[in-house]
Amino acid sequence: MTVASESALARKGSGRVKGLISRLGLLLVIVLFMIIMSFLSPVFLTVANFKNLFIQSTILAVLALGQTYVIMTRGIDLSIGGTMALSSALCIGLVTYSGVPVPLALLIAVSVGAGVGFVNGFSVTKIGITPLIVTLATLSIARGATFVYTNGANITPVPDVIAAFGRGQLFGVPYSVILLVVLAVGCHAILTRSVFGRSVYATGGNELASRLAGIPTSRIIIITYVISGLMAAIAGLILTARLESAGPRAGVGIELTVIAACVIGGTSLFGGAGSIIGTLLGVALISLVSNAINLLGVPPAWDDLVKGLVIFIAAVVDVYRRKYARS
């Protein structure tokens, strides 16, 4: 598992070669895993299973895109599960109960996501609360608000347009997967090529030095939380479209899996290092593990245990990789 990582240092530092190896390493683990699975389960290498796998991991991946930005600035966003539930329930509720037009309801949903993100970022940078506490609070607030709004029940049916998005395909590829690809390409380009992306790396790498160099570090950090909130709202809408219902229990506990995917993908909890490609590979590995547990008939109870072990190993690797990079 030394493999499962990619740091800024590896990305550009004491060489691209090292970065390539570590990235290939995670890819190699994934390929090996797939080869073994194809022998163990006849169903594994079928189009249906892969389609299922992609659909399953889309939501995780969308959330992980935003989380990558936040973790890179040494933050953490636990609120995403709550934001998901709140924005999707609000969207469907506004249409179904209040007769709000669908486009406006969608706009409100993503605005709410961005709003929660702004509150998180503002509290971290301007008030000075630690990210863990702020987002724990907003997680609870957002989910609690959803329970209040929905009275604890799921809202059905969802508007036809949204249900159609959930079922729709283009050349056999679900719309949600296409949306993910677009978002991922965008996030990757922004992180690697834009002034904002550079500022994210810099702020996470050394906030004081970045501020002294004229980077508006508070603003950068706030924007990363806004991105994470936006992604949470989008993930919530994808889930709702697929389930054709919105409810207060959407995405319970998903934040930990998302953070794990980022860390496995080489985003350092110490800040300043990470990549979208790494994060997507992390999502792939976690999804494969869940899929395997499912296919092999392991009781679902094992799911958390195995996932937990994978996360623990990835965190240990993160520490040793940093030590190795230093020496």
């Binding site: 530092g13 002034v195 002294l212 160099a213």
Partner: protein, 495 residues
């Protein structure tokens, strides 16, 4: 002759080929206040760290009460009876005085901490140090001076024989400092040995029995206090007057920066200075005199409580580093690792950090423009890195500093604040940094130079302000810019 507590002979310590302490001898007797003086970087701190077990000497011998000792760490030295009171106090603010005094040596009863015993130990010591306050008071509620007394109390609780005080009055008010000096006198009467490290010559002459002067890691001399006066000590500290290397034929132009009465409460006050085009203005002073704080204020990192800053004759307020950069300011901070660089980032990341607007269109960075910019500065400053994509962490100190300098040159500054620009930099890189600065000053750059290295400051500056305890003590020009006069103002010696 009194009993000798500690005898160090021929102690030497090298760091990466640089000799910080060179064959130094030092003895401290019971009932003696032995003062160790020298300029910044003379080797005082390294010496203290060797005596107190933090560093292992490369050569030489330490004897405690006549027996050779080899400390494995600070705890071993403390157990042997050597306590250091550092400039940064090492107390746990949330704990009470009693808890701090017995910290790490808790009296126990039946496996649990015996708090009654702890309180009585503390209560028996507090009167000695003249602190009349409940032992249940939390340390965070005490003033700095009182906290320092608690540290001394802790040393006494450990039955220390030798007390090392490192710049003990640096962060104390005058009243607190007086009280501390009284206490030191009292401890001397109790037959403790005291090694007193201070820049402040008044204190040395008030307290000391003997004085050892160090310079460039070597002992220049040890004399009884009666054989010295302040001028003599300063002369020993600075050594032979080194000749100024640079012929200054600069012709400063219009005033860029004018600061009037700048004050940050409790840190510095009433700072007035001026920097003109094509001029290097030195800011001299001891560590803690407030030079860096003034620089941070000018660069918008902190906000002044009073005073006026004018740029090109117009009053400005500098709300953030970005605002300072927009005014054409640049700041090379004193600690490049924590304040200057994104260590895990590449040379490119670090170099381009402040000029993103110049190399981007609509928020997207042009790889071509960035590459050209970086390559240009790597050439111009002869930055030695395997490639621009190499992590800056892996470069030498000199090359790291050149990356910081290059970043600021890329912004096209009019006024540059250099805070210890050549600290920890090798000789070659130092010369190149000086050359580049000199070149830019000839093209009209104004420079405010903070340096604890007096030869550098003297060689480069057209004018020098000397700061002492948060104020400007003197403005020097021409032949007055020499080590003796600067040190006299910086240390507050009277003639």
């Amino acid at each position: 002759m009194r009993e000798t507590i500690l005898e160090a002979s021929g102690i030497t310590k090298r760091f990466a080929g640089v000799t910080a302490v060179n064959r130094l001898d030092l003895t401290i007797a019971a009932g003696e206040v032995h003062c160790l003086v020298g300029e910044n970087g003379a080797g005082k701190s390294t010496m203290i760290k060797m005596i107190s077990g933090q560093y292992v000497p490369d050569e030489g011998e330490l004897r405690l009460f006549g027996k050779p000792v080899h400390f494995r760490g600070p705890l071993a030295a403390r157990d042997a009876g050597i306590s250091v009171i550092h400039q940064e106090l090492q107390l746990i603010p949330q704990m009470t005085i009693a808890e701090n005094i017995v910290l790490g040596r808790w009296p126990r009863r039946a496996g649990a901490v015996d708090f009654d015993k702890a309180r009585s130990i503390a209560a028996s010591i507090l009167p000695t140090i003249g602190l009349e306050i409940s032992v249940d008071t939390r340390v965070e509620e005490l003033s700095t001076g009182q906290q320092q007394l608690v540290e001394i109390a802790r040393a006494l609780a450990f039955q220390s024989k030798l007390l090392i005080l490192d710049e003990p009055t640096a962060s104390l008010s005058n009243a607190e400092a007086d009280r501390l000096m009284e206490l030191v006198g009292e401890l001397r009467r109790r037959n403790l040995g005291i090694l007193y490290v201070s820049h402040r010559l008044e204190e040395v002459f008030e307290l000391g029995d003997r004085v050892t002067v160090v310079r460039d890691g070597k002992r220049i001399g040890t004399e009884p206090i009666g054989a010295l006066d302040q001028a003599k000590v300063v002369a020993m500290m600075v050594g032979d007057q080194r000749s100024l290397q640079v012929a200054k034929d600069r012709r400063p132009g219009a005033t860029i920066l004018k600061v009037d009465g700048l004050t940050r409460n409790g840190i510095f006050s009433d700072i007035s200075l001026e920097v003109r085009r094509g001029e290097i203005v030195g800011l001299a002073g001891l560590i803690g005199a407030g030079r860096t704080d003034v620089a941070r204020c000018l660069f918008g990192v902190e906000q002044p409580d009073a005073g006026r800053i004018e740029v090109d004759g117009k009053a400005v307020s500098i709300a953030s580093p970005r605002a300072a950069i927009d005014l054409g300011f640049a700041l090379v901070p004193e600690d490049r690792k924590t304040q200057g660089l994104i260590l895990i980032g590449s040379v490119t990341d670090n170099l381009a950090l402040s000029v993103h607007p110049k190399i981007s269109h609509a928020g997207w960075i042009s790889a071509k423009a960035e590459g050209e910019l970086v390559a240009g500065y790597i050439r111009k400053l002869q930055i030695r890195a395997p490639s621009p994509n190499h992590a800056v962490e892996t470069l030498s100190g000199g090359n790291q500093q050149k990356v910081v300098l290059a970043r600021w040159l890329a912004t096209g500054p009019r006024l540059m604040i250099l805070d210890e620009p050549t600290r920890g930099v090798d000789v070659g890189a130092k010369a190149e940094i000086h050359r580049v600065i000199e070149e830019l000053v000839r093209e009209g750059l104004g420079v405010l130079l903070i340096s604890s290295e007096l030869p550098e400051l003297m060689a480069m500056s057209d004018r020098v302000y000397v700061m002492r305890a948060g104020r400007i003590a003197a403005e020097l020009v021409g032949p007055d810019i020499n080590e003796e006069i600067i040190m006299k103002h910086a240390a507050g010696a009277t003639q």
